[in-house]
Assembly symmetry: C2
Homo-oligomer: 383 residues x 2
Amino acid sequence: MFEFDILQQEGRARRATFRTPHGTVTTPMFMPVGTQGTVKGISPQELLDIGSQIVLANTYHLMLRPGEQLVAAHGGLPGFTAYPGPFLTDSGGFQVMSLGHMRKITEQGVTFKSHLDGSRVELTPERSVEVQEALGADVIMAFDECPPYPAEPLYLQRSLERTVRWLERCLEAKTREDQALFAIVQGGTSGELREQSLALTLPFATPGFAIGGLAVGEPKEEMFPAVALTTGRLPAHKPRYLMGVGHPEDLIAGVALGVDMFDCVYPTRTGRFGYALTDDGRLNLNSSAPRRQLEPIDSGCDCYACRSYTRAYLAHLIRAEEMLAPRMLSLHNLRYLHRLMARAGDALQQGTFFNWATAWGERYFRQEVPAWFQKALETGAGI
Amino acid sequence: MFEFDILQQEGRARRATFRTPHGTVTTPMFMPVGTQGTVKGISPQELLDIGSQIVLANTYHLMLRPGEQLVAAHGGLPGFTAYPGPFLTDSGGFQVMSLGHMRKITEQGVTFKSHLDGSRVELTPERSVEVQEALGADVIMAFDECPPYPAEPLYLQRSLERTVRWLERCLEAKTREDQALFAIVQGGTSGELREQSLALTLPFATPGFAIGGLAVGEPKEEMFPAVALTTGRLPAHKPRYLMGVGHPEDLIAGVALGVDMFDCVYPTRTGRFGYALTDDGRLNLNSSAPRRQLEPIDSGCDCYACRSYTRAYLAHLIRAEEMLAPRMLSLHNLRYLHRLMARAGDALQQGTFFNWATAWGERYFRQEVPAWFQKALETGAGI
């Protein structure tokens, strides 16, 4: 179980299979986020249709509502949500920081007031593992602190050290053999602190490693060197998961640097706001031009929305505030990211990944390829 | 084209096929409402999956936004909405009354201010037909006035006479051979006025007739005798459409009285509010009991929601305000009404419709069958 087999490698980029109790998935891959036990507006059948492989669910949300015991009574997340494939749950740490009120961090864990009813809740490494075991995902995450950006170096250092002690307690608390617990490397954008976190975390030899503490507001010029440093030190034969990253250009740069797994609410959220992802950048269907365009969002896309609808129809749905609009744009955007990762995988199979990624970037950025993207590709290619 | 063939008859109730340019449908049937060119939250593929046969669209809404010319540029409603089957458009008259501001009715037609932008719009019999021809539905409706309930008899009489003059103008204006225009019988709940409307309307010998002016707030004790009077006078070999009716008990009573077609926003609207239709009445998924129930809405239902989800999961989605909740409850409710009409058709095939309908009513009303329902079944059965 949890075997990770690299099928192709080109520079740092790799294509691999990752075996989980609910199925074997192929990386690089984007994982849709089903915060409250549903990818917003999308059915499990549609997730299967568009090629989703692992679905995320949020420990913080599900422990507060409906409570992890109800999910366990359904046999875990697949029974509860009707998505039959693998799941990944986060630890709840990140949401406590972003959604909990009056939160207080101690060595023991975090206490906070629920954003739903203001009740006082405690989340500790042990409690996070207990909830994640009840939810029953295939991959579970160590309870960590994700500090904000910017943060003082001293705070970052104390936090990353505590996160390592919490990791140890998570592993101690863990009882299920059919769940892989991934450790999370922290350290913000500081090379020195990343190195410290890596030195303290790698000895735990968890079956996979996440890169945390990034995509929290820092510039990409700082984020991707931190990714590069981390993937350069992580063990080659274990999956690497860059948390909270979902913009197309960030996925390509991440794959170039050797990342295998990504997740983000971005494709569904931007879809609900009326935006569609394409190789030519983000299409704004709230603007006036699409209202008269009789072509699909993307004639090269095989999603239901692109096979069925014109831009004019979808723009009409948005103006009419029809539920089908966020549904169809979310579906298209998820399919776009799944196809993007499949295309990256195809290029890796053919040994043409860096050429393909360069060409993709030139079209996406309309010839104005930013330096951070160029640099990520060069670092990944070993230039 | 537009052949209506009665396959079985039992008392007044009948099962028939109705041929349209976009396909042959089987009656009795319920038609989902796609007001703005989409059945709220439901994809065309899902409509096909659950057995929808004809989809309604609203002339008033589509002429105001996006404008009928954009729909025509897509080749009409099937190209615009991606639903490949037959459509029916209403005339716009009803919505002008319920949504238009500052409306003024004259012999010429109706002027009103758009509920979207306040602009002054005129709708006449000729304009209604023009818009409906651009939308391209298989069945189009005569431009009529649907008076409120209650209304003065004198007003009702003048209105129904004007509606007949408008019918004549609609037929005059109509140019497309591939669209069937249905006349609408008015007259409120007055037997005398219904008779007058019938006497004036029947000579036009349109390919189908609608029963209008009902389900606008009158008690069922007044509504169903008006239905019974009308179906008793309509020609046998043409389809009969009871407008705006969609409660399960009203469909059964209507079928008993010889109605073939129904439409209503009820199943999707009540679904968005968290209610599910079942043979045992309406299930309120907002209440606390379903939150712990691990069974489906209806174990006898074959819809995606019932095959995939527990009541507890759906109740969680409602509390979490997740889009999948209204989507799944709308889907279930539409499927429930389609199955209800298919079951009525099966009973008609077996010559057991009135027995089946009586048993259905006893379960649905929990033994307390209302007199109006009982009376409708008796009238339909010829007792």
